[in-house]
């Protein structure tokens, strides 16, 4: 970092997350005046344009890349048309001890006076809850599943290389062409498509307008400043903002600024999940970098400075705050913008270049929470590139994460994508796979596997509430073997997957009809060609993911029951269920036996792993290929974010010896502390899952720093990663920090504010995590071959 970027970084770290009422006020004013006057897509586009016209423009001192979603860094707007915070919500956000958002009284008053009265009953969340059937509500409240779209729009997408070749004026020409081709006589949807295309055109205009306003502000500041160097920079910023996004970028600076305007547009239009991401940034910028260096218009230092300024912008963008159950589910400031490095080019050749290394250096030096980053490791990725990434990982920030680029391609081919589209795709959010710039790959919610077993053991009754939640699938005394139990588990799972998917059909249609995203549609193939919105199936590919949580806990519970009840006959199943019902009160000996003497997933032990494979196959067949409302299909994903903590809270004690309320296992990682046979055994166990059939799996491992010292440490980690990827493993990430250090941070958070750890597919400040999650991370087995 140079002096400028070090200062910008520090300012970003020091900025306190707050909520800003500006967007809420603008959109409410617009809706109040225009409600019912336009077709809905056009209304959305005009609202977007209204915000771009009136929002505060912020250009920070010394910034080279400009644009803030809110009126200043980390001032987070709200989206009342989707989720309208109550005054109570705002007060909780302002006062809660972790991941707090500052909210001033004036905002609460504006909400009480203007925002809440207008949006109550009108927000998409209110409409959605009114429309969903009772069975959905019951399951949702019982913690069977969560729903991403109840307060954030479908986002989950990443940009490809199209903006580096075309300006928005070019996209407008494409839109005009699509409009001209509409055939009212033959196409009954022609008028609807016309409205969609009209909306996309307005959205382009809106973003160009936003850029023009930045140009004007930069010129104003340039005229004011007495600092000639800064004045020149500001004039350059103005020049860039007059060029992009209207026209294609000509150089490195314009390319970055163009992306950043697009990012602003996408996250201002709606509060889509997983922010947005430039995807293969090293590949996209490579031509600009090469040309700039060759022509002498860019230096390596200059490129680095611009990239560092660009990184700071991501870090300034704290995720939109949530309300209700999801506040506990996913308490984090990170908004999951995930850069992809290395990987493959669309022609199948190695995609790494000099910028890959430069970006790794920047990631290491800046170690900001955002943007998150990953390295797509293919067979063709040079060892030197992977080792460079491992050296950054060794420093213990939990990033970059590592993905198996060859498996990522294969997973997409299985879903029917073209080879080129699959190679140009990658991973976003935590571990989700998509075809960048061409796909809406929507995460719909986490699914609680442990709850399904709990219901199967109670004939469908939820032991936490005493309510008959699921279907009757047999009392525990009727199960003669593990097959009988699994049959009941499967029946419960089918029942709730049906409820989940039926609910989702409602939600998808609500978004398609009431909450189109015209700007995101401009950026996603083939929305313009089809005249269809991103939320309505306009994208070339449309997958909907259900994320199964707790496969480690489930497997260990099943294996314990298989061994103690059905094989050894130590106790009858009803007796075990009774022990679970009383949270092992007075039955510590039984709990210890369950914890210590039964086969556990993560030890390369077939007695446990075969059950994992069986459950996985079942889940795959139960979910994969079911149609969604957008012409695409449902897919299975194995990722928890932080939901394993929430799901653990709503589950009673389980047969793996876990006590009531404790977290479930995360991702496809073994139960915390259950893997006792070393890292290779964990990878062998995890490798038994057919990763290629998923849309992503997540495996976290913890290493002590001592084990990774020197070149030898890097070599060994390198061998582990390469071998896991040979076994088709999808993703792996490492926490390199000792349990002792984490405990110390727990006790003295004030001196460990900067400690970043891997949570589950993303990194976060350890001190910002809930106590449960902190404990859970400490318990994850620490691999150190010298500790026996």
């Amino acid at each position: 970092m140079n002096e400028r970027t070090a200062r910008l970084r520090q300012e970003s770290l020091d900025a306190i997350p707050s909520l800003s009422p500006e967007r809420a006020e603008l959109i409410t004013a617009f809706y109040r005046e225009h409600l019912g006057k336009h077709a809905i897509p056009v209304m959305r586009a005009l609202a977007f344009k209204y915000i771009c016209q009136h929002k505060t423009i912020w250009i920070g001192e010394g910034e080279l890349i400009v644009g803030e979603r809110g009126p200043r860094p980390k001032a987070v707007p709200t989206y009342p048309e989707l989720t309208c915070h109550s005054a109570e919500d705002l007060r909780i956000l302002d006062t809660r001890p972790k991941t707090r958002y500052q909210v001033d009284e004036a905002m609460i008053r504006v909400y009480e006076r203007e925002i809440i009265p207008f949006w109550q009953g009108r927000s998409l969340r209110d409409q959605l809850f009114q429309t969903l059937p009772q069975a959905w509500h019951d399951a949702y409240e019982a913690g069977v599943f969560t729903e991403f779209m109840e307060q954030r729009a479908p986002g989950h997408t990443v940009l490809d290389d199209k903006i580096y070749r075309k300006g928005l004026r070019d996209f407008q020409a494409d839109i005009a062409c699509s409009k001209a081709l509409l055939d009212v006589e033959k196409d009954p949807e022609a008028e609807d498509k016309r409205a969609q295309l009209e909306a996309m055109d307005i959205a382009c205009e809106a973003l160009i307008l936003l850029a023009e306003r930045h140009a004007a502000e930069a010129e104003r500041l340039a005229a004011q400043t007495t600092n000639a160097t800064r004045a020149a920079e500001l004039r350059r910023i103005a020049e860039v903002c007059r060029r992009v996004p209207a026209q294609a970028p000509r150089d490195f600076h314009e390319a970055l600024q163009y992306y950043w305007f697009c990012h602003q547009g996408v996250i201002t239009e709606l509060n889509g999940w997983d922010a947005f991401s430039p995807g293969h940034l090293d590949q996209h910028l490579w031509p600009f970098y090469q040309r700039g260096l060759k022509e002498g218009s860019l230096t390596r230092e200059g490129a680095r400075e611009l990239l560092e300024c660009f990184f700071v912008k991501f870090n300034n963008h704290t995720s939109p705050s949530k309300v209700g159950v999801t506040a506990a589910e996913s308490g984090t400031y990170t908004d999951f913008a995930n850069l992809n490095l290395a990987g493959l080019l669309p022609d199948g050749s190695d995609g790494s270049n000099e910028l890959t290394d430069l970006l790794l250096d920047i990631i290491d030096e800046m170690h900001l929470l955002q943007p998150s980053s990953n390295v797509q490791v293919s067979r063709k990725t040079p060892d030197a590139t992977l080792k460079h990434a491992l050296k950054v990982i060794r420093n213990g920030y939990g990033f970059p994460s590592l993905f198996n680029a060859d498996a990522v391609v294969e997973e997409q081919l299985r879903q029917g994508k073209s080879l080129e589209d699959a190679r140009a795709g990658g991973c976003s959010g935590c571990v989700e796979v998509g075809a960048f710039g061409k796909e809406a790959y929507i995460l719909t919610g986490y699914f609680n596997l442990s709850k399904m077993l709990e219901l199967a053991l109670h004939d469908g009754l939820d032991p936490r509430t005493g309510r008959q939640l699921g279907p009757h699938t047999g009392a525990p005394e009727s199960f003669r073997n593990v097959d009988d139990l699994l049959q009941a588990f499967e029946a419960q799972t089918h029942h709730f997957l049906d409820i989940k998917i039926r609910g989702n059909q409602v939600i998808e249609r609500l978004y398609a009809t009431r909450m189109p995203a015209p700007f995101l549609s401009v950026l996603t193939d083939d929305c313009i060609r089809k005249g269809k919105d991103y939320n309505a199936g306009g994208a070339r590919y449309n997958n909907t993911f259900i994320q199964a949580v707790g496969i480690g806990s489930l497997t260990d519970s099943l294996s314990a029951i298989q061994q103690l009840v059905f094989e050894r006959g130590d106790l009858a199943l009803p007796e075990l269920v009774s022990a679970l019902d009383v949270d092992f009160e007075g039955q510590e000996v039984l709990r210890q036996r369950l914890l210590n003497k039964t086969p556990k997933y993560g030890n390369d032990d077939a007695a446990a792993d075969d059950l994992m494979v069986r459950v996985f196959r079942f889940l795959f067949h139960a979910i994969d290929g079911r149609p969604n409302t957008k012409g695409g299909a449902y897919r299975l994903e194995m990722l928890p974010t932080t939901c394993h903590v929430y799901f653990g809270q709503v589950c009673q004690a389980s047969a793996d010896g876990r006590k009531a309320g404790e977290p479930l296992s995360e991702g496809i990682s073994p139960v915390q502390g259950a893997d006792r046979s070393g890292p290779t055994a964990v990878l062998r166990s995890a490798g038994k899952m057919d990763h290629v059939k998923t849309g992503g799996t997540l495996l976290n491992m913890k290493f002590t720093p001592g084990l990774l010292e020197g070149e030898g440490g890097i070599d060994r980690l390198h061998h582990l990663v390469r071998t896991y990827f040979k076994m088709d493993g999808h993703h792996i990430q490492f926490n390199v920090v000792t349990a002792a250090k984490l405990r110390e941070a727990q006790e003295k958070p004030e001196s460990h504010r900067d400690l970043i750890v891997r949570v589950a597919g993303y990194s976060d400040y350890f001190c910002d995590l809930s106590l449960e999650l902190q404990d859970e991370i400490i318990r994850r087995t620490e691999h150190d071959t010298f500790a026996q």
């Binding site: 210590n596 003497k597 055994a681 030898g712 071998t723 071959t785």
Partner: protein, 300 residues
């Protein structure tokens, strides 16, 4: 049910532990099989429980929750080791452990080959260690031969004390021999390991004529064998052995102490501090001055 703790059934080997992701017992990522039983009794031994060929019932105190399950098995005054399997079986926490498991070659092959993909990627393989493998020569040779039939890289880690014939036959089946040298002085060797070094040195000389991949391993125990005189003597001796490819200096660490206490034995090295990193560098240079490629802890 007293299965006896003593003799190893014919056709089987008695192992103490299988360590996957083993990093210091040869090249690459390895799986190390620790065989039970050792003719030496080194004061710094990391695995004192592995010294006896007999199976041993131990209690890991920190895992014991004093539930009393094991006492329910024994009559008054009865020794729990009279029914070791039942004792281990009934313990819910795994505090009661029976050290020593008898396996045949097929079973063991099945276990050690699980990490074969990691061996392939890293140039690793399987190491037979101990205890002392040469105490169970038939099983060790069978096992090495079985690994060789599957083209797995093999290493034999030996303290060097055993029948020369067994050593040469086993070594012929091993791609690499890790050979420990603890002290060049026969009296001191006897004092700290319980046996003299004459047979060990003679075995190394013979082995060095016929095997071309020998790594010498010298534990560096301050106050015991780290004096320059001894190490110079070690270096001179090793420099004359043609088959030696490198020498690993293994700095003392005190992990053995707790284990000695766990099995009720006195630990003689409580006062010993691990050698400093600078000291280790100095010692490595001493060997390098004799033309011997020396490492610290196996890191080149």
């Amino acid at each position: 049910m007293n299965t006896g703790l003593g003799s190893v059934p014919a056709g089987k080997g008695r192992i103490f532990n299988i360590q996957r992701y083993s990093l210091q017992d040869g090249p690459g990522l390895r799986t190390t099989v620790f065989l039970k039983g050792c003719p030496l009794d080194c004061a710094w031994c990391h695995n004192p429980e592995s010294q006896s060929l007999a199976r041993e019932l131990i209690t890991q105190e920190n895992r014991c929750i004093a539930c009393g399950s094991c006492f329910s098995l024994c009559g008054p005054g009865e020794d729990p080791s009279s029914r070791p399997e039942a004792c281990v079986e009934i313990c819910p926490t795994g505090a009661r452990q029976l050290l020593g498991r008898d396996v045949d070659v097929d079973e063991l092959m099945d276990e050690v080959l699980r990490d074969q993909p990691f061996f392939d990627e890293s140039g690793g393989g399987v190491t037979l260690s101990g205890g002392e493998p040469l105490l169970q020569p038939v099983f060790v040779k069978d096992m090495l031969a079985a690994l060789r039939r599957r083209s797995v890289h093999t290493a034999l880690d030996t303290c060097g004390l055993g029948r020369l014939e067994d050593l040469l036959e086993a070594a012929a089946l091993a791609d690499l021999v890790l050979f420990d040298l603890k002290h060049m002085d026969d009296v001191k060797h006897r004092e700290w390991t319980g046996a003299g070094n004459a047979a060990i040195l003679a075995n190394l000389e013979s082995l060095g004529q016929v095997h071309g991949q020998i790594w010498i391993r010298v534990p560096v125990i301050p106050g015991v064998n780290d004096d320059v005189e001894n190490l110079e003597a070690t270096a001179r001796f090793v420099a004359g052995i043609p088959g030696v490819r490198r020498l690993d200096l293994l700095p003392y660490h005190s992990t053995g102490a707790a284990k000695f206490r766990r099995i009720g034995r006195q630990y003689l090295l409580d006062h010993v501090q691990p050698p400093t990193a600078e000291r280790m560098v100095g010692l490595a240079d001493l060997f390098r001055a004799h033309g011997i490629p020396a490492t610290i802890g196996g890191n080149l």
